[in-house]
Structure formats: C-alpha cells, structure tokens
C-alpha cells in the first residue's frame, strides 16, 4: 500500500514537472554551474495559441483588417473628389477605415500578449484568406460602394466566427480568446452590418424614385450628420 502511494507520488511529481518542463528546466540549465547559452523557453503562450493553425488564423484576421482599412480609405478618398463630392459617404468610409486600422493594432497587441507574433507576409492555407489580389473598382457609385462595404464587413464577421469556432472545440478550448473576440468584434460586426444593410436598401429605394440626384444629395447630407 505504501509502495503504491509512493509510486503514485513519484509519477504525479514527474508529471507535474514534465508539464511545466520547458520554462523552469531551461532556467535550471541556464543557472547550473555548467552554464548554458540556451535561450530561455519562457513565454506567455498557452491555450489556443499553442496551436500554430489558430495563431495563423488570428494573424490572417489582423491582415484582413489592415487591408480593409486601405480599401475603405480609398473608397472614402474617391467620394471626397470634387466630382463625386459626397461628404457623408466620405465620412462613413473614413470612419470604417479608421476603425479597421485601430482594430488591427489592437489585434497585434492581443497576439503578442498571448505569446504570439505578428506575421505580415501573405499567409497561406488559412480558411478565411481574403483575396487581396482582386482588383478593386473604387470609382463606384453610391449604391455600389455601400453594397461593397456591406460585403467587406460580412467578410470580417466570417473571420471572427472562424476563429471562434476553432477555439471552442475541446482540444483548443480558450475562453480568453473567445471573450476577446466576442467583446471586441462580433457584436460590433452585427451592428455595422445591420447599419450598412439598412443604408443599402434605403439607397436602392431612393434612387428608384423620380429624382435620384436630389435623393442622393439628401441621403449624403443625412450620412454626414449621423455618422
């Protein structure tokens, strides 16, 4: 009986020390008399970020935000020219661009907090790879640009769901990542998607009326005052 207990004790001590092996043992070898120039294996990586594939997905998601901040900025710039001259549209898309940019910095801070690193090169084999090669037509009319913005936001929402799906399975379960994605992304996505869908459908009705140009003028003014 005593022997059995002893064996269990030994095994559990062994298991515990094995589980925490890398960081502490690397410290021990660094501090041992023999000395070691081995790097410390101490980091803040745990949970979902132990899985390379999930980290790649978060990196991809961050890249998507950067890219979309560029696309929104160009859409905004186009509506700021003297011919288009739609201050409301310019403001709306600029806001979407600023938001995507701020979010990408926030995502980088999150990735590094969780012991990961940011990757700027094109990432292959991620589910949500957003096709940056597609050449965008930025000289869009008002309705087309609104529809495009709606698509881009849905694309981001899909990216968030992909990450969320992966971290909810038992193997990679990570409540902190889930909570971060939920609090900072998914609810905001649903809000902006609803808003853009409303705008798109309003616009469609308005330009189908007798005087599309006056309707567009008034809608633009509305955007300018509400965004």
């Amino acid at each position: 009986m005593k022997l059995q207990l002893f064996v269990i004790c030994v095994i559990s001590v062994f298991c515990v020390s094995y589980a925490t092996d890398t960081c502490y043992s690397s410290v021990k070898s660094v501090c041992s008399s023999t000395g070691s120039s081995l790097p410390l294996k101490c980091n803040s990586k745990y949970g979902a970020f132990d899985n390379e594939d999930i980290m790649k997905n978060v990196q991809q998601y961050t890249q998507d935000h950067i890219l979309k901040s560029f696309h929104y900025l160009l859409m905004s710039s186009y509506f700021g020219n003297y011919e288009a001259n739609r201050e409301g549209f310019e403001k709306l898309f600029r806001e979407l661009s600023d938001d995507a940019w701020e979010k990408s910095i926030d995502l980088i801070k999150f990735i590094t907090k969780r012991g990961g690193h940011m990757q700027f090169n094109k990432i292959t084999n991620t589910e949500n790879a957003y096709d940056s090669e597609k050449i965008f037509e930025f000289e869009k009319h008002e309705l087309g640009s609104m529809a495009k913005a709606l698509e881009l936001q849905k694309n981001l929402a899909r990216g968030a769901n992909n990450i969320h799906k992966k971290i909810l399975n038992t193997e990679n379960h990570d409540s902190e990542v889930a909570s971060y994605i939920e609090n900072n992304f998914v609810h905001k996505h649903s809000d902006s998607i609803r808003k853009l869908s409303g705008y798109t459908n309003d616009l469609h009705q308005l330009i189908s009326s007798d005087d599309a140009s006056l309707s567009l003028y008034l809608f633009d003014e509305y955007l300018k005052n509400t965004v």
Partner: protein, 234 residues
C-alpha cells in the same frame, strides 16, 4: 371668349407635358439610375502638372510603407519575449502618424481637384521593410534611416513641383508650366517641418539610449523603455 380658349389650351398643353413626364418617371422608377450624371465643370482651376501629381501619388505609398514598417516594429517590441512596451507604444503611434501623413496628402490632392480616377492604385499592398531587430537602438537607427529617406523623397518632390517646363496644351500649342508655389510651400512648410522635428527626436533618443547602453547595457535599455512607456522625455 378668346382668352378662355387660350387659357384652356395652355392648361391642356401643361397637362400633356406632365402626363408624358410621369410616364417617363414611372419607367425611371423601374430602372434605378445608379450612377449620377456628371455635369461639365470648367477644369482651368485644376492646375497640378502630371509629373508633380505622380510624385504626390507615389508619396502616399511611401508613407504607407513607413507606416507598415513602424507597425512591424511595434509588433516586434510588444512580444512577451522581447518585452519592451515603451518602444512598442512609440512605434505603434508612429505607424498611425505615418498613416495620417498619407491621408493628409490624399486630402491635398482632393483639394486641388485630383483623384477623380485611378484611386485604386494609390495603395499597393505596402509591406514592412523589416520584421526583427537586435535591440531598441537597432530599431531607432532603422527608423532614423527610414525618416531620412522619406524626407529625401519629399524634397525631390518639391523640386519636381517647382520645375517649370514646356508642354503641349489642349489647343496644340506649346506653353510653359508654372511653379506650383502653393504645393511647394505646403511641402516645405508643413511636411518638411514635421520630418525635421521627427528626425531630431529620433536622433536624440538614439544618442541617449546608446550612452545608457554603453555604461549599463541591458539595464540602460530597460530603463529607457520605461521612460518611453510613461511618456517621459528622453
């Protein structure tokens, strides 16, 4: 009596025109007019010359490459194993600043009547110039080199925009272009000012950090980083 007939005729004609109109507008309501018609406006006021415009457009990409480079520096120093939050904070802020510079240039081009077409080519997948740095000093050195190259591009641009040259105008005659005084003034007064101040700041930081590192090594960088984090002047 005659007056009454004339009045009736006018009313009838008015009704017919209105009727025709409403038929047309009914058709229009089935086919939405997505693109509004552009009205002809004089273009004499759009006076930026092509070589100058081209340089300005190019500068937007340059600013975004700088922005992405700072973003990558921020990402590097934010890592737990590097743990230099002060440097990370500074570089993240620089990344957003460079983005603001690009937006400022876009704003200028819009004011001068540009960017009515080819907007899609302004930002072409900018990539950071580096991803890892051996130390904080190494990153500051790279940042200073980057700023110097951006400054050089702005001065070259000012040169192009003030150069007068002969060109064939719309009527097929030679004409001499004008020095773009306003743009050059804006570049030298506004943009270069910011560049020179930024460079001085980086050079000062690098110098202080180098001195601290020489006598105190890792401790020097550690302390310097905390100064940056708390927004203290260094």
């Amino acid at each position: 009596m005659l007056k009454f007939i004339v009045l009736a005729a006018i009313l009838l004609a008015g009704y017919c025109v209105q009727g025709a109109d409403s038929v047309l507008s009914k058709r229009a309501s089935r086919l939405p007019s997505c693109r509004s018609k552009l009205m002809d406006a004089p273009t004499d006021w759009i006076t930026m010359e092509d070589p100058c415009t081209e340089k300005m457009r190019e500068q937007i990409q340059t600013e975004f490459v700088a922005s992405m480079t700072y973003l990558a520096m921020g990402a590097y120093f934010a890592q737990d194993t590097v743990n230099r939050p002060g440097f990370a904070k500074m570089f993240f802020e620089s990344a957003s600043e460079e983005r603001q510079h690009a937006i400022k240039i876009i704003g200028y081009l819009l004011m001068r009547g540009k960017l009515t077409s080819d907007v899609g080519q302004l930002i072409r997948d900018p990539q950071p110039l580096g991803s890892t740095y051996s130390s904080g000093a190494d990153a500051l050195k790279n940042a200073l080199i980057l700023e110097a190259s951006v400054t050089r591009k702005i001065t070259e641009m000012a040169k192009v925009c003030e150069t007068e040259f002969e060109k064939v105008n719309a009527t097929g005659h030679f004409e001499r272009t004008m020095n773009d005084y306003h743009l050059v003034d804006w570049l030298t007064g506004d943009f270069l000012n910011e560049q020179y101040e930024g460079q001085r700041d980086l050079a000062g930081k690098l110098s202080t950090l180098n001195k601290m590192m020489e006598s105190h090594g890792a401790l020097g960088e550690f302390l310097f980083d905390k100064k940056l984090l708390n927004g203290n002047s260094v």
